[in-house]
Subunit: 125 residues, 2 copies
């Protein structure tokens, strides 16, 4: 299954790049009207498979996607934390990696860590 370069993929990639935060499928459809729902989902899934983006599961179960900026190609891990603001609902990646230690005999494959709270613009004084 070789990947092909298509306008749809480039548009979605451009949106992901332009956005500092992690974005949901909804955010993308708000900016693109000429690409089918299913296609967007398929492209996002493909990006995740290919290590171009990573997926974050929000508190409500919704998926968010962010470009893998800090991920080395050789060592692809995502054990950094994410933050979602309860007010403005934006999702950010936090830089700092967290240390995960597992019990004997356990093996890690992926980590999804999400903090919910209020960001610096939405936090009550």
């Amino acid at each position: 299954m070789n990947r092909r370069k298509t306008p749809s993929k480039e548009k979605i990639l451009a949106i992901l790049k332009s956005q500092g935060d992690a974005i949901s499928h909804e955010t993308i459809t708000n900016q693109i009207t000429d690409i089918n729902r299913a296609t967007i989902y398929r492209i996002l899934n493909q990006f995740c498979e290919d290590g171009i983006a990573h997926r974050i599961i929000a508190e409500n179960g919704k998926q968010f996607f962010a470009l893998c900026k800090t991920c080395e190609v050789e060592e692809h891990h995502h054990n950094h934390l994410h933050f979602q603001c309860n007010t403005c609902e934006k999702v950010e990646c936090f830089e700092s990696e967290i240390n995960i230690s597992l019990p004997e005999g356990y093996a890690i494959e992926n980590f999804n860590g999400l903090i919910n709270g209020y960001c610096n613009t939405c936090a009550p004084a």
Copy 2:
């Protein structure tokens, strides 16, 4: 809104107690047939509101619920990690709390951390 003690709540609480792991709505309906879907959801939500249980969001967006064993009543926090096995799909609570440091001006309200991988019985040798 005062809470009332009902057979439905007691049954679900009993299941949560009997289960060592965090369980999904599905697991409950497999063990109870005479309680309505919607009722189970409502009771689980109520348990979360009341601090009796906490909610874990799995990789696929599904909700899991676990009794709050280690949570002090006064200081109710859930910044411990959870683990879901990709093979047997069970969800466990890990004891160790993790340290979360936020950027200036941010406030935390909740944390949901899930490790995906293979548990000690399912891990490949």
